[in-house]
């Protein structure tokens, strides 16, 4: 008990500046980026010290708002207290007083300036944040032709502001907190009060609170704590870098998490169909967008099944292939050393390697890789009679169809599942294929994202579901919670009409 009391007292801001200074210097030992600026206040020789991290604060602001006011404004006064400084002198908008040294230290490394003075046992913490950051740029990973082109940046509060510009409503709630025992990264939970289920917000908060993570460097680090025990290749937490998409998701009753230093927002709960939709669907002509959306569903199915179906047909069930086509395939097959399954498997694997290589290299070389990979190797392999030309076409089709999937999370799940499905089909033909599809489907329908059934609207219950699942019907400008028909334990009774 005494030890805790002692610790508490040690952590208290002292009345003498020297002791405080010593404490800070001990905490910031070997931290050369901390600046200590000693000043004299008033006529009685009272001293003050402003402590901050040089490049996290805006130097001009420190000079103008704090130092000039303190030194200039107190020339005729005998002595002052922190409260007087707070209310009369400092012009920064966000200031607060602190009595704990560790809390003050936390503020300093978070980019605030802290003022300590003689004869007062509180310190003043002022927001003078101003580090270098990237400006708002065009979204690169979620490209759209129509609609806002902005993307989030690494600056947390800027990102919130970007969302606020889309939803100017007091019901948009912004709750700030910190996560990561070591990194102490700030994050923000956004939700629309009235649209979101209260249980959902508290569930997300609870999960983040209970998560024992030391480091949070990107919003991706949070996903594992939020997913808990769900073992699945499918993404059950959506991610986006577009503020307009975040706004749309918020208006469908979702909870959004924004993390400092991460330009990617997380959204939950998420449904499977979300990964096949883009914001543009709602901005463009609905006839066209319905067609394109349907196309995406087909592409999704194809990208998962084309290689396996090909293996099943060529390897097991020739009779399903029309006669003339079979002739052409058979003529290519002559002299090919590998069985179809291995041929396709190796080609798919090569494709994945090329894709990864193209992604990691600088853009100029990346393109070269794809040309060398696709054209040169593909063509050479066919000419060398190592693989069939049809196989190359099949692998290429798979690749292209997988690029049409807007949600990165879903397309990576498909990439991953393609291989086990291929193996199953390779061993058991169409039977293995159907067993594989059965596994995938039953897994999908058993998934839940924060209490919402993942495949909810795929088995439509209402006209609204049909209108907004496979098609993009007209009149989608009303608030609609997509899982209201498929709700599980979420309580939407508080939702407005």
């Amino acid at each position: 008990m005494t030890t805790t009391n002692d610790q508490k007292q040690d952590d208290q801001v002292h009345i003498e500046l020297d002791r405080n200074e010593a404490s800070f210097k001990e905490m910031f030992l070997h931290c050369d980026d901390i600046s200590y600026r000693l000043i004299e206040i008033g006529t009685s020789g009272q001293r003050g010290m402003v402590i901050f991290v040089s490049n996290l604060v805006k130097q001009d602001l420190v000079d103008a708002v704090i130092l000039r006011e303190l030194v200039g404004g107190l020339r005729d006064v005998e002595s002052v207290s922190i409260d007087q400084i707070k209310s009369q002198l400092v012009t920064a908008s966000d200031v607060r007083t602190i009595t704990s040294l560790s809390e003050a230290a936390q503020d300093i490394i978070s980019g605030r300036a802290v003022l300590v003075i003689d004869h007062d046992d509180v310190v003043l913490s002022m927001d003078v944040l101003g580090w270098e950051h990237r400006g708002v740029e065009k979204s690169e990973n979620e490209v759209s032709i129509r609609g806002s082109q902005q993307a989030f940046t690494e600056n947390l509060m800027n990102n919130v502001a970007l969302v606020r510009r889309f939803i100017r409503d007091t019901r948009l709630k912004v709750e700030r907190n910190v996560i990561g025992d070591v990194t102490k990264t700030p994050y923000i939970i956004l939700y629309m009060e009235g649209l979101v289920a209260k249980t959902l917000v508290s569930e997300v908060k609870q999960k983040l609170k209970n998560s024992k993570i030391d480091k949070v460097l990107d919003s991706g680090n949070l996903v594992d704590s939020l997913r808990e025990n769900i073992i699945s290749p499918f993404p059950i937490i959506n991610r986006t870098e577009r503020p307009d998409r975040v706004a749309a998701l918020l208006l469908e009753g979702r909870v959004i998490i924004l993390l400092d230093n991460s330009p990617i927002a997380l959204s939950m709960p998420s449904l499977l169909v979300e990964y096949l939709q883009v914001p543009e669907d709602y901005y463009e002509n609905y006839f066209l967008q319905s067609f394109i959306r349907l196309l995406r569903y087909v592409a999704f199915a194809l990208s998962l099944t084309v290689p396996s179906l090909y293996v099943a047909l060529v390897g097991y069930h020739h009779e399903l292939i029309p006669g003339s086509m079979m002739q052409s395939i058979m003529s290519q097959r002559v002299g090919i050393p590998l069985p179809t399954i291995i041929e396709v498997f190796v080609m798919e694997l090569t494709f994945e390697v090329l894709r990864e290589a193209g992604l990691r290299l600088p853009r100029a070389i990346g393109q070269a890789i794809s040309i060398v990979g696709a054209l040169v190797i593909g063509q050479a392999a066919v000419q060398a009679k190592l693989v069939m030309a049809t196989t190359v076409i099949v692998v290429a089709t798979t690749g292209i169809t997988s690029f049409t999937l807007p949600g990165y999370g879903l397309s990576s799940a498909v990439r991953l599942l393609r291989f086990p499905l291929l193996l199953l089909t390779g061993f058991l033909g169409l039977f293995g294929f159907s067993i594989g599809i059965f596994f995938i489907l039953i897994h999908l329908v058993s998934l839940q994202s924060f209490g919402v059934i993942y495949t909810g609207s795929l088995a439509p219950r209402t006209w609204q579901d049909i209108k907004d699942t496979f098609f993009r019907g007209p009149g989608q400008n009303q608030i609609h919670i997509p899982w209201r028909g498929a709700r599980h334990h979420l309580d939407h009774d508080e939702a407005p009409n």
């Binding site: 399903l320 058991l428 033909g429 169409l430 039977f431 067993i435 596994f439 039953i442 495949t455």
Partner: protein
Amino acid sequence: MISVKQLSYLIAAEIFSTGILYLPSISLKQSGNGGWLSPFFSLLAGIIVILVLTFLYQKYPSKTLTDYLPQLVGNVGAKIIGALYVLFFWDCGLDVVREIVGVVQATLLPHTPVVAICFAISFSIIYALYCGLESLARFIELIYFSMPALVIILTLGVAGAIHSNAYFPMLDAGWSGVFRGAFVPSSWFGEVVILAYLLPEVSNSSKVLSRLLWTLVVTAGLLSIMTLLIIGVLGTSEAARTQLASFEVMRYVQFGTFLQHIDALFLLPWLMLMLIKGILFFYVAVVSFSQTAKLSKPKILIIPLVFLSIVISHWLFSDEFTISKFLEIVWPNYSLFFEVLVPILLWITYLIRQVLTRKQNATP
């Protein structure tokens, strides 16, 4: 909890999956070209079972058969009947697995070892059972349309191959033939007895009765259309000689000159529906077992029950011929006992008990 709609799809899949493959060839042996009428008579077994079970469920709401058996037949009787039902459901599941294996081997994978097929099926069933009944219900919502679609596509695909004279003279085996042809398939309609364990899982059971009756009628209609197609394409006598007449008809499907011989594709939805049927039976077997034996964790039964059934089915049925003979000759006799007779007896017991208690109350 599952919805009434999902329940009806599950029941339809349960009847349709075996029905579409085995019903025509089995019933046509007796019924002649009036075989398309047989499903509507087989339907009666299903209707009786549904009426009796929903009646009992109304009297004992939120309770499974195992739960209310002691109140009807006493503790010892309940244990015996409960155990018999466990065996019956487990046997149904086992038969389904063997039927799938038989068809897959006969049509898709003639050279693959049975063990490989068995393992693939049992893993699917085990995984689905771990996912739970709700997942299965959601799964059927995704694929239920394949039942009408299968029949419609088949109708369009074989329309050119139908010989209309096969339908005349109508009812060449007479009404008695139609009734005899309805006997074996009635055991598949009687399989709705699993409702005794599914009804407590339904969220809003007020509309169950009418919805289920409609489901039965629609399913019988689909099977009837299927039989009509088979009679038209293969002719009655040829169809009666063929093991899997429906599959033979699928071979005739032709769309232009490009899409031919697509029979294997029809087996994909059938396989899924059949897996659902198997899963339903194993689910009910697990539930009834755990309730009869008062186990707290039913999931531990899943793996042993499924794997044991694989071994036993392999041992009982050596080939496709044995299965279809079993389905035709042995199966109806004991399955109808569990499906129709026992529920009716339980219903009568309930009525007698009601009368007795009323008398007892009146005498003092």
